[in-house]
């Protein structure tokens, strides 16, 4: 099955063609129960332990819509600046595949709950690009197939397949963009930024954790090329289940280069689904769509229409949080950081942690300094996400408070943080147990300063003679003598005044 695919250099592809993209994102909602029945959606359960006659499609069972899922769908629609349908129905999407025991998926067809919206996304250099939304509709997830006997767990070569229907029926929202044009060479970046922004938005709405690595958010990348100056779209390929932000960007880039190679060589693009390969960023041919798919959609007769009351929609609109992009820009200004620094903070997953730390009383620059410095280093070393470190924003805030009150210096603060991370308790307990207070007792400090001057007479003479810069060596000696527990600025003051020199 090895196919050698020719690629055109990215710049050459863009010189000849204009990319057009369409992105379809599926989000698994974080409801407690499935879309049409009361089965739990908890992850990690035993195979087929979360099913019932409804989600197994047994005769005589009837679906009932999950009210929270509809509410989540409306919230998503509103956050995407969509119109919300006054009246809409579910539809049966019929197909032969064992991942749905009903032999159809309950979805929405020509009456999506939300339509005609947009999402503004910001690229890394700050440029804002508007992605228009065609629709967001409600549907249900499918069961999980395991293919047995094939070489790599794929259908190809498998002798049979095994089905776990725990996931069948979990609420999904499918969000479909209008064709994205005009992004040019930035199309792959736009694709990535869109999915990233959507993920932030879904999380801000608190309707799903949207963890792509857990399959809670999945993206299909549709892409076509047209020669510059032409209006008509080219034939598209549909790269399925691209499941990380980086992969979304790579898949779009790869398809641009592949399409350009095919078209440039006088060939034609076949409308087909393609599989993305994480290892090398390539895509390979999947299913060819010889004829338009025909799912025989028809209105679901077992469910009555959903007609969101206008007053309720407005109520939900009023509860919407600040959009992530707007919030990021506001915080960036409040914190006085550059676009680039804000991007680093975002990439580190530190935005909410810094906000929580400031809310617990820390100055923003201090909160940022600890989370992006010492704590980010710990997170990197231990390979854990920042928010999984064993320290809370409140504890970080307490450390910054101890620093600003002069009880700790930075060096001691780092030790306190280490102690908290090691499970030694609250910052104050760590200070107590490890004896980490800054030596502020003027008597003890004064004695240490006198000793340092006595032991370094030559340096002391230089300072007396006006070489103030030499004071650093004495400060170092005092810090060493006090095992770092002195306030270095105060030590310097004492040294200079003892030697009769103006700082």
């Amino acid at each position: 099955m090895t196919v050698i695919t020719d690629l055109v250099p990215y710049e050459d592809a863009l010189a000849a063609y204009d990319p057009v993209m369409g992105l379809e994102v599926h989000v698994e909602l974080g409801t407690r129960t499935k879309m049409f029945c009361g089965c739990s959606t908890e992850l990690g359960a035993d195979a087929n332990s979360q099913t019932c006659p409804t989600c197994l499609g047994l005769p005589g069972s009837l679906p009932v819509v999950n009210a929270t899922a509809v509410e989540s769908a409306v919230k998503i629609g509103l956050a995407l600046h969509c119109e919300i349908a006054e009246w809409c129905r579910f539809a049966r999407k019929n197909y032969f595949y064992p991942d749905m025991p009903k032999n159809f998926q309950t979805s929405q067809y020509d009456e999506p709950i939300a339509f005609n919206g947009y999402l503004d996304v910001q690229l890394e250099d700050g440029e804002v690009f508007r992605v228009e939304i065609e629709r967001a509709h409600m549907e249900e997830d499918t069961g999980k197939s395991t293919h047995v006997g094939g070489a790599t767990g794929r259908i190809h070569g498998a002798s049979h397949s095994l089905l776990d229907y725990n996931r069948a029926g979990i609420p999904l929202i499918e969000i479909v963009t209008k064709p994205i044009t005009g992004a040019g060479s930035r199309a792959p970046e736009v694709a990535k930024a869109y999915v990233a922004e959507l993920r932030e938005l879904i999380r801000a709405l608190d309707v799903s954790d949207a963890r792509m690595e857990m399959g809670q958010m999945r993206c299909d990348v549709n892409l076509s090329l047209r020669p510059h100056g032409t209006e008509k779209f080219g034939t598209r390929s549909e790269t399925k289940n691209v499941n990380s932000l980086r992969s979304v960007e790579r898949a779009a880039r790869y398809e641009i280069q592949r399409h350009a190679a095919v078209l440039g060589g006088g060939g034609t693009i076949v409308q087909e689904t393609r599989h993305f390969h994480e290892e090398d960023g390539s895509t390979t041919s999947g299913r060819v769509k010889e004829e338009a798919e025909d799912y025989r959609y028809f209105p679901e007769p077992d469910l009555v229409p959903v007609a969101p009351a206008r007053a309720w929609v407005e109520e939900l609109r009023a509860t919407l949080p600040e959009l992530p992009r707007v919030r990021r820009n506001r915080l960036r200004e409040e914190w006085g950081v550059s676009e680039h620094d804000m991007q680093s903070i975002l990439n580190a997953g530190a935005v909410d942690l810094i906000v929580a730390t400031t809310e617990a009383g820390a100055p923003a620059d201090q909160a940022r300094k600890w989370w992006m410095g010492e704590l980010a280093r710990h997170a990197n070393e231990s390979g854990t996400p920042l928010d999984a470190l064993a320290i809370t924003p409140a504890q970080v805030a307490r450390v910054t408070e101890l620093v600003s009150s002069g009880d700790l210096n930075d060096k001691l603060a780092r030790q306190v943080i280490e102690g908290v991370l090691a499970g030694e308790g609250e910052p104050d307990q760590v200070v107590e147990k490890r004896g980490l207070k800054v030596v502020s007792d003027e008597g003890a400090l004064g004695a240490a300063v006198d000793e340092a001057i006595a032991a370094n007479a030559a340096i002391a003479d230089k300072i007396r003679g006006g070489k103030v810069a030499a004071a650093g060596a004495l400060v170092g000696a005092v810090m060493k003598a006090t095992r770092g527990q002195a306030d270095a600025a105060r030590v310097r003051e004492l040294i200079l005044s003892r030697l009769g020199v103006e700082g």
Partner: protein, 98 residues
Amino acid sequence: MPGITREEVAHLARLARLELKAEELDHFAGQLDDIIGAVARVSEVADQDVPPTSHPLPLTNVMRADEVRPSLTPEQALSGAPAQEQQRFKVPQILGED
């Protein structure tokens, strides 16, 4: 009036994974035509003021609270399965997909 063609029957048969012989296509085209013609008579009495109906009851927004209810046990869920393996439904090789 409908006028179901032989090609349409062949298309439906393919979607339904039914293998029909040539004479069956003609036979069913006629029968389906009769059935659809009978149902289509509804549109003779339903005027513009009657909206298309997909549910017999004039209800909207029938929903349930997002509360977990007991599921079947895996044994119960699998009790009707023709074949099972590793507590999962076992199905034959899936063809025509990748």
